[in-house]
């Protein structure tokens, strides 16, 4: 299958600084991919190169296997929803949504007011545009708002207008820059479902850029993790969580940062720890009276459903563990013994690459 949109070995430099290095990423037809990374990791640069707003210093941008590296954003027919939504404040919702179509299908003369009266072709095009705008507006429940200006809309409504403007032209690929970052918690959850549904209904290739791993893991078919300008791993959310390819990904993914026991002391937990750093998620650590790992509780934080313990083992490594339920929690200062099931251990070699830990 040729990818709807792909980067092939793209590097982007601004002066002396390199924003992204050798990034390759493919977005299949109808696929939903998330580009996940901390702020400043280069994901916005990647997005701008995909959209055609910036040119790569090296490498290529491909659409359906065709090189579009030098094509403008409009020529690629890629829709981009901006983080700030970037609605035209002086135009009504209807005009905002119609803008990409008017620019694409009407000449300068055809856009003049009254042009439809002189040319049947212009009239038909305009009717066509009107029908498409109303179809997308209906899909996103925007009909009652079409006459308003963006300044009169709530954040959630503005976001739907931005989605409508991006979707109205039937794009080859749909890029969303931090689509959920300006919404409050309740709206976020609803919008996640809505975006998934929109992806299912339209069948376009979606790429969302986000710094929020819950957004990425919950919505995307595949997630590309970007760290310091490089793509560390591209995998399904399940693979990413259960078999992170590098130590950096392992530490990045997960609500609670993974504990890393350095090579050597880690052997207490598993024989493989003699030659590898061993990672274990805070959720996978258990309290056990004869556990192999000895640690002292430093502090305890109650978070409702769970309680987070900060510990320090006898070699001085800081550990964290998450306990569910409120029974018999150790107090700060208590000495506890810990264990972890071998299948929950992640081994990393000196280069930070994943190595098999035999259970």
């Amino acid at each position: 299958m040729t990818a709807a949109l792909a980067l092939d070995g793209v590097t982007k430099r601004f002066g002396d600084t390199t924003a992204i290095t050798d990034v390759s990423l493919a977005l299949g037809q109808g696929e939903f991919v998330a580009l996940l990374g901390a702020s400043g990791c280069g994901k916005s640069t990647t997005l701008r190169i995909l959209a055609g707003l910036d040119r790569p210093s090296e490498g290529q941008v491909l659409m359906q296997g065709r090189c579009v590296t030098r094509d403008s954003a409009a020529a690629r027919n890629i829709a981009l929803m901006f983080q700030s939504y970037a609605l035209y404040p002086h135009l009504s919702v209807y005009q905002n949504i119609a803008m990409p179509l008017r620019l694409r299908h009407l000449s300068v003369a055809g856009r003049l007011p009254g042009a439809a009266r002189f040319s049947g072709a212009v009239r038909r095009t305009r009717e066509d545009i009107d029908a498409q705008v109303r179809r997308v507006a209906a899909m996103l429940r925007l009909e009652p708002l079409l006459a308003r200006k963006p300044g009169q809309l709530s954040g959630g409504q503005q976001q739907r207008v931005a989605l409508a403007r991006a979707l109205v032209r039937k794009p080859a690929a749909f890029l969303l820059d931090e689509p959920l970052s300006n919404l409050d918690t309740q709206l976020r959850a609803d919008t996640r479902d809505e975006l998934r549904a929109l992806h299912r209904d339209t069948g376009h290739a979606f790429l969302i850029v986000t710094h929020d791993q819950s957004d990425a893991l919950s919505m995307a078919d595949r997630v590309a993790v970007m760290i310091a300008g490089r793509i560390e791993q591209i995998a399904t959310p399940q693979q990413l969580f259960h078999t992170p390819a590098t130590r950096a990904v392992a530490e990045f993914i997960g609500h609670h940062r993974m504990n890393i026991l350095p090579q050597g002391p880690a052997a207490a937990l598993h024989p493989a720890g003699k030659g590898l750093d061993l990672g274990v998620r805070p959720e996978d650590l258990r309290l056990q009276a004869d556990g192999p790992l000895q640690a002292v509780v430093r502090s305890r934080a109650f978070h409702g459903e769970e309680t987070i313990l900060s510990l320090q083992d006898d070699r001085g490594t800081a550990l964290r563990m998450v306990l569910r339920g409120g029974s018999a929690l150790p107090l700060p200062g208590d000495s506890v013994r810990l264990t972890a099931p071998p299948e929950a251990l992640h081994g990393f070699d000196a280069c930070g690459l994943r190595q098999q830990v035999l259970s």
Binding site: L53, S72, A73, I78, Q83, A86, H90, P100, L103, P150
Partner: protein, 272 residues
């Protein structure tokens, strides 16, 4: 009311009276019949108000012509200024190109140079090109305006870069973004600039005195001079009527655009 406030308002009122008095006197004289103008006692209100002076100003002299010239010249200047400044200011604010900082520096430096300094070379150049004594001579030297460029660039710089990118993604050319996105968003600034430009060139006497000699090309202030010298001689009635007619369009325009004007000057940023 506190005494300080009363004093403040009193001073402001006094200032307003001082500024307005000549205009009030001008209108008053323009409405008086000839016999009433030269009387030993001063009366602000005409005893027998008449429009005779206006009839004479409009029929016996070329004031309508001067007004038309004023409209053509100020309108021509404003349109050319905007046609040139909007794309240039957009490029200075939102395009990256080598020398952009230097160019903007040059624009700011040009703000400091009064027109009178460049008037002479421009005059000589136009004389060489045989363009003097024409509308071109009155309009062309003002087409490039550092002030307008500076004002518009500052306004355009307030427009978020994402909005500009949105235009690019939607398929607008750079020129289309300048005119269809940046221009409407900077409209308060554009209107403020338009008022500055129109006022300055409507009232300008210096350049029309130098550039044109043909009475048919005279702008309103230049026209009033002809009027005083030759045509109505020592008749202040029609002269004041003419002066009122020349001043009125600007005052009316200001009153109509007053809110926009103060908005344009006061707003430091664009509201989203």
């Amino acid at each position: 009311m506190r005494p300080g406030l009363i004093l403040g308002f009193g001073l402001l009122a006094l200032g307003a009276v001082l500024v307005l008095l000549p205009f009030v006197w001008m209108v008053s004289v323009s409405l008086k019949p000839h016999a009433e103008i030269f009387t030993p006692h001063v009366s602000l209100l005409p005893q027998n108000p008449t429009l005779e002076n206006y009839r004479r100003a409009l029929t016996e002299t070329a004031i309508p012509r001067y007004l038309l010239n004023g409209v053509l010249v100020t309108g021509g200047i404003l349109i050319l200024q905007l046609v040139l400044s909007v794309p240039c200011a957009y490029a200075l604010a939102h395009r990256r190109f080598p020398g952009r900082g230097l160019l903007f520096g040059a624009v700011v430096a040009a703000l400091l140079v009064p027109f009178h300094v460049t008037a002479l070379p421009i005059f000589l150049g136009m004389a060489r090109l045989q363009m003097l004594d024409s509308y071109t001579a009155l309009i062309l030297p003002f087409a490039a305006t550092a002030f307008g460029l500076f004002l518009l660039r500052q306004a355009f710089a307030q427009i978020p870069a994402e909005l500009i990118d949105a235009g690019r993604v939607d398929g607008m050319s750079e020129l289309a973004i300048a005119w269809r996105v940046a221009f409407p968003l900077a409209l308060p600034t554009v209107i403020a600039f338009a008022i500055f430009s129109v006022t300055a060139h409507w009232n300008d006497l210096f350049w029309p005195m130098i550039a044109v000699t043909d009475p048919d090309l005279a702008t309103p202030p230049r026209g009033i001079l002809y009027f005083r010298d030759a045509e109505s001689g020592d008749e202040p009635g029609p002269l004041m009527a003419g002066a009122t007619l020349v001043t009125a369009p600007l005052v009316l325009a200001f009153l109509l655009a007053q809110r926009r004007f103060t908005q344009g000057l006061a707003s430091t940023g664009l509201k989203r």
